[in-house]
Symmetry: C2
Subunit: 436 residues, 2 copies
Amino acid sequence: MIRSIHKDNPLRHVLDNGLVVIVQENRVIPAISISGLVKAGGMYDSDEQAGCADFVAQMLTRGTKNRTWQQIAEEAEAVGASIGVGCGTETVRFSARSLSKDFGLTLDILSDVLRNPIFPHEEIQKHRNHKLSLFKSWDDNPGQVGEKELRASIYPSSHPYHRRLQGYEETISKFGRYNLLNFHRRYYRPDTTILAVVGDINPKEAIDKITELFGDWKNEARPPADFVIPPAEMQEPSRKIVSMMDKSQVEIFLGHKGISRTAPDFYAVDVKNRILGGSAGLGRLFNYVRDVQGLAYGVWSSFSAGLGEGPFIAKAGVNPKNVERAIKSILNEISRLRDDGITEQELADAKEMLIGNFALSMETSSGIANVLLNAEIYELGLDYPEKHGRIYRAITKEQVEQAAKKYLHPEKCSLVIAGPYAEQEGVEIWLRAVTS
Amino acid sequence: MIRSIHKDNPLRHVLDNGLVVIVQENRVIPAISISGLVKAGGMYDSDEQAGCADFVAQMLTRGTKNRTWQQIAEEAEAVGASIGVGCGTETVRFSARSLSKDFGLTLDILSDVLRNPIFPHEEIQKHRNHKLSLFKSWDDNPGQVGEKELRASIYPSSHPYHRRLQGYEETISKFGRYNLLNFHRRYYRPDTTILAVVGDINPKEAIDKITELFGDWKNEARPPADFVIPPAEMQEPSRKIVSMMDKSQVEIFLGHKGISRTAPDFYAVDVKNRILGGSAGLGRLFNYVRDVQGLAYGVWSSFSAGLGEGPFIAKAGVNPKNVERAIKSILNEISRLRDDGITEQELADAKEMLIGNFALSMETSSGIANVLLNAEIYELGLDYPEKHGRIYRAITKEQVEQAAKKYLHPEKCSLVIAGPYAEQEGVEIWLRAVTS
């Protein structure tokens, strides 16, 4: 799919300390994109320190042994470079992008923030206040409340996916500089770090520069024992109503345990989910629940497939008077897909869309870098960009229908309703009736 | 800056009906981006029908003479194409992106939604309900409230920038299908439409296809008389407090009338504003107000320079106990920039950043298409991508300092405070003291 401008296949190189580097030359514009990850996401938090991983990630750019936060910001901004850091459940992902001439400086800043953050007291306090204020506004937001409650319903409290990534007021109020330093020392390690570099650079030069800046990074003793994600048990379905009577729209969340990205039938599940919960025109939820029945403003579903079995979630924002009908309608579409299968046309449309979107996502260097990063961590092979179309084209109607039977469990869906919807007599009985 | 992959300069062609086409070949990936605009933005609304332009734009994809909304969505989604429409004060902008093989289909849908929308009754009702629900949630959002109130303070009620683009409950409740059709017939015209096409296509082929699909589009009689934006008078500063005591953060808005994109000193103003209100590391507001003094979670400023003189706005989200200090601090930075000038280092950093960001924005076909579209409507010349660096590099410290003196008026700033901040005795006296 990709034209000859991408001259060679990506080059993969592992430094002595275990850090994996992947480089793809791409001379379209004189710029270079770096995408990377380290296995230091929210799942490594203890219950008492929920939110620590996210806090650490957000604080990386707030001061290092060599630079104040002002210097980090100024040095990057002055050359139009940008460095972004985001924390997920499993990994912390970072990205940087600059003109080619500033690659050395950008990589130097990136190496500094990953390896040498010092978590200044004052910045911790500022960030904590910001987070506490954010939590308050989330508590006032039916969408945020619903997602938090559903996640807690789908995974047992012993599972790392149970918690909210950002933590809670009780937990983030407690931890301080020592805890952040400790988390960083333990989980930021070269042997769980991957860097993908795509752009206007000779691959060997890029690897030399990375070796220079990351080669002497040491792993602290042995890898922590908690690097493995425990399997998730399917939970008994639960129902929860969070009444927020001053809001105008009710958010409905339904879901259960999903699938991991490395499961062999991931691709069939992906196609299935586009048919179920994809955007306008393709997704059945959108077409039937939103518009044919005029119930919801927005409705869709997702399978968050990571290293572990992430959640399957269907959600809708609806007018308060349509709550019951919308829940029934969503569950009905899930059952119908599982029991009655799909059409050849839906299969063809979903595949075409997935293949087209993937091709379009490879337009930019950062898009390519992200694909290569995922190919590495999920062990898809560095030829994944070439294979992608073949894999999806080969999926059959039967595979998708089997995946629907195997992975859609309307009777196991937990339900959360958040918004202007009262706890009232009869609701509980009704809920039991529709969700089981 | 752009490499040889962009083989030739863009080709500009005007159809007999006045529609302007600009095409740039770009063979990086087998995809094509279309960006376009039509002069049919919110400024053409009457007071009684505020929000009509935005409503029309949002309804374009909800059904045409040839396609139901479902068909529009299905035909586009099935090939992974996407069509987006957004309404601004002056123009409605649209964009579409698809694999090259689907260019004909994508352009056909785009032509259909621009030329033949039918505004079905049922879809109008659905969209109206959605909008009314959105307005409710905006009324509950200090950021939205603050921006609406500031705009109303900066421009007199006779000026088209005074109104909220999306209208108000009173206005959108009133208009119906006839009004939408009427607005569409009047303002969607080939002679105010521009299409920029960038991607994997021969320019002549693109122009032929566009002529085939748009060539027989007729202009309704003469252009409407209201196509000119009246000059905006600088208003006397006003102060307004919207108390929303259940929120956790106070939003502060300060601003006054700004500058148009075609003003010769636009570039000096642009550099000046990066120094004042740009992001971390460069912007003085961010560096001094947010972090040195620890007052605000976010603070920045913007000059919205369009065909008319858009607003200059500085805004900050702050802890309720820091409101007074933050306002003083923001006004102080504005005064300091106007009175004391800038440093050579700030000038160099701002220029470098603007040039770098522009180069990075030209990585994608849609980025290039947007630049060409702006070059056409603001009469910058189709060689603007090449000139951009030269223009900014030539800007001197004196020009920026003159622009600051000419366009920053701290004593003319209107002020809006929205959030958990009480109207209390003494506040009004204090406000007068700091803002005049």
